[in-house]
């Protein structure tokens, strides 16, 4: 492939590409994102290829592995193009049926179509699935269409068109102005206006640097990963446009080391873009230079904080430093640096292509555009969702998420990663935007959304997040290091039934201190899980302290197991699994649990068929 030497060459190459590709040629795209791969997507791919080869159809019907489609719960997913027939939970055994249906005039394979759980009807296209119907997939839309390792796929769907437009018709100032007018705010969590950040950086003298923050470390979050794995060129294109606007010649992508596939796809994308003359020296014949380097993170959550990330990039210990000076003034190697999240960079080509006014038309007054959430926890439709800002939590959980499994009640939604807050079920009509979430005591964060049902103890979940943060605090500043340690100690004490009422004001004081006096955003937000659960679920804390009762029956020290004599059939199953020999009673007789010996491991609960083993709390618990 020759280097493209001008914008015109790019466009004529694209036209040629579209002409050579038959739009009617069937293509089977299988999602090879992390979730579907775990569910066996590669077996499906191999099965499809084998079946096609068997029938000599490998040239007539294409097979492609694509990035994450988002609906991980129902994986492996696949789409048959050009019809757009959407199949879910595909296995390698279905390959023959799929190939047969495609070669016999595209009659959809009934059993692989998604069944709407409410109406019970099968739906054919992806857009008709309720999970997708409420989404607006601006960033992730192409994930299901393109092969992330093939730049021609990206060019085919209009990729690098925004770059061409920028290089041929716009000045750097116009780009900054367009990004400002679009109302785009940093998607990493803090929500700083991107246009303003770029403008501030441009006020400082060159050389300037660009950084893409792909150090996504929130438990349960995989938005950046899926974008880097599924559509790396969109991030690269955004960065090239950013580099043009900021006059930068060097850019870095800091990717979490635990994402090898993201690194691989990104490196492939960069190599291909250089090969096609879209990156490197003399980009599209304009004389613009840009090199993008991929750097693997060193495995610290705190390196997602921009100043710590810069320190880590420079080869120093990944610890944040105080701002000012901001990275836009003094960042990497002491030079002005713009650092944006993966999704922010990927939003830039969208804004250029569709226009800032269009982008600003999505969302609420102060939060524009779309936001990507990873919807996980106690929810029917686990997956990645991209929604316009301002959508309510109710729509997220019931329309897109399909509600809570097992008919359980929603208790809370933890938004914004470990240092976000728990929003109670009462606030389910809260619209999701930066301001409203902050008012509710939580934060947008990078888009983790963990749904919690009634079987979860809120004190225990606060303790869990505090353990994570205690481990991930860099330890440099005192309130964060000691605050997280002390909070974890106090919460552990409360969960063990040893809390006192004075612990509650102490937690509040400590939370206030951490919020006010910590050095970086990690410390300033670390108390959020505790402060929000104290605000919305104070009763649960008081039940633990005053009554030594865990209302959700989770905290081991506060619960006991007992066998309901009327239900027990004496099957002895529980006796066999009990490691502590705490279950008494001969076979065929009613069993009883010796509370003094019971370690409350829950093994008997799981094996008991007649559901005779029950969990209680609130009575005096015998301790061993």
């Amino acid at each position: 492939m020759p280097r493209l030497k001008s914008v015109e060459e790019l466009e004529s190459f694209r036209t040629g590409l579209r002409a050579t590709r038959d739009p009617k040629r069937p293509c089977l795209t299988v999602c090879a994102g992390s979730g579907c791969t775990a569910a066996g997507a590669h077996d499906v791919l191999a099965g499809l290829r084998k079946t096609l080869a068997k029938h000599g159809l490998q040239d007539a019907i294409g097979v492609k592995s694509t990035g994450c489609h988002g609906f991980c719960e129902r994986g492996p997913l696949m789409i048959v193009w050009p019809e757009g027939t959407f199949y879910n939970q595909v296995t390698a055994n279905d390959a023959a049926a799929i190939v047969a249906s495609v070669s016999n005039g595209h009659v959809p394979v009934e059993k692989l179509l998604y069944r709407d759980p409410v109406s019970g009807k099968r739906v054919i296209r992806e857009e008709e699935v309720p999970f997708y119907a409420r989404q607006q997939r601006v960033l992730f839309g192409n994930n299901g269409r393109i092969d992330p390792k093939d730049i021609e796929d990206y060019l085919h769907v209009g990729g690098y068109g925004a770059l061409a437009r920028v290089l041929s018709t716009m000045s750097p100032e116009q780009i900054v102005d367009a990004v400002t007018r679009s109302g785009l705010r940093g998607r990493g969590g803090a929500g700083f206006p991107t246009g303003l950040k770029w403008k501030l950086c441009r006020e400082n003298p060159a050389p300037r640097y660009l950084i893409c923050n792909g150090d996504e470390g929130d438990p349960g979050a995989f938005m950046d990963r899926s974008l880097l794995e599924g559509n790396p060129h969109s991030v690269v294109e955004g960065m090239i446009i950013g580099a043009f606007a900021l006059g930068a010649q060097e850019a870095y992508v800091y990717v979490r080391a635990e994402y090898p596939l993201a690194c691989e796809h990104l490196r492939a994308a960069i190599d291909q873009a250089e090969e096609y003359g879209l990156l490197g020296d003399d980009i599209l014949g304009t004389g613009m230079k840009l090199r993008i380097h991929v750097v693997k993170g060193a495995g610290a959550f705190v390196c997602g904080e921009e100043t710590a990330l810069i320190a880590s990039l420079e080869g120093r210990v990944g610890e944040p430093h105080p701002r000012p000076p901001y990275p836009a003034q003094k960042g990497l190697w002491g030079r002005p640096t713009v650092i944006n999240n993966v999704k922010t960079w990927a939003s830039v080509p969208v804004i250029i292509n569709w226009g800032p006014e269009w982008y600003a038309g999505i969302g609420t007054e102060k939060s524009k555009g779309t936001m990507v959430f990873s919807l996980v926890g106690k929810i029917n439709n686990t997956g990645l969702v991209e929604v316009p800002m301002g959508i309510t939590l109710r729509e997220m959980i019931y329309d897109i998420g399909g509600g809570i499994p097992g008919g359980k009640a929603l208790k809370a939604i933890q938004i914004g990663g470990p240092s976000g807050g728990c929003i109670p079920a009462d606030l389910i009509d809260l619209p999701i935007d930066y301001e409203r979430l902050t008012e509710a005591g939580s934060m947008m964060g990078s888009g983790g959304m963990v749904v919690v049902d009634e079987t979860t103890c809120m004190v225990d979940i606060a303790r869990y997040f505090m353990e994570f943060l205690e481990d991930e605090s860099c330890g440099q500043c005192f309130p964060c290091r000691k605050g997280t340690q002390r909070m974890r100690q106090i919460l552990t004490r409360i969960c063990a039934g040893n809390g006192v009422e004075e612990d509650i004001p102490l937690l509040e004081d400590l939370g206030w201190l951490m919020k006010q006096a910590s050095l970086c955003a990690l410390g300033q937000t670390a108390a959020n899980p505790v402060l929000t659960t104290l605000r919305y679920f104070r009763d649960e804390y008081l039940a633990h302290i005053r009554e030594r009762r865990c209302p959700a029956k989770v905290c081991r020290e506060l619960i006991f197991y007992e066998i309901e004599p009327t239900l027990c059939d004496g099957c002895h199953a529980c006796v066999r699994v009990c490691a502590g020999d705490a279950i008494l009673g001969a076979k065929e007789e009613v069993h009883t649990i010796d509370r003094a010996r019971c370690t409350r491991c829950g093994a008997c609960l799981e094996v008991c068929q007649p559901k005779a083993v029950q969990v209680g709390t609130g009575e005096l618990v015998c301790r061993n």
Binding site: P322, E470, F478, P479, R486, L513, Q516, A517, L519
Partner: protein
Amino acid sequence: MPKLTINGIEVLVEKGVTVLEAARFLGIPIPTLCHDDGLAPASACRLCVVEARRGPEAKSKLLAACSLPAEEGLVVHTNSARVQRARQLLIELYVATCPSSKRIQDLASAHGVHQCRYEAEHEDCIQCGLCVRMCEQQMMAGAIGFAGRGADRHVSRPFDMTSERCRQCGACLYICPVCELRCAGPAADTTLCNGCLNFSPVCFQSYDDAMCFLDPCHACELAGPLRPDVKIKSRAHATVLSGEKQ
């Protein structure tokens, strides 16, 4: 020269100075545990936080004065209720971490911290980083540094062996705000006992001839004359207790 307001006083300062330097120049005290004039600021102890905002409309924030550049139009309050509350809560946390430290006991007395709601930990190090910076920036040795992260973070030597670069100059001991023997007062673990004069610094056990640079205890000064049963263990303290200047 940038003009800023500190506690309602408009001041002109040299370009490049920090708010801490400007305030100290004006005679406004700001407590610190990790700051030294000869070392780069670390913003680690957070005791020097001040309430600052840029311009009258902006929202105020608590920022560490030691690393906050004194910029044009900055409005700073060094002793607002918010600052006082943050300092008191911080000192309480410091007392719990290192109850034996005289510097910390002094701070507690000076800032009216009368209770400690946490269990005492006796960590003997508050990780202010003064020794690390002293060794690196003034002694040009770099023989010690921080290792580990979060709760595991600690001052250490390369590979936990005595570094060839260490000249045993004792600068790290000199600058350490907490390297003292545990308070042996009547109820050391639970209260601020004012008994912190009754110790001999731990470093004396290994460095017989090291100088002790401790000042008389703030709390004990407030408490009046020393009890007769207090044993004087070190030469340095003999000087302090007999009222002579070092």
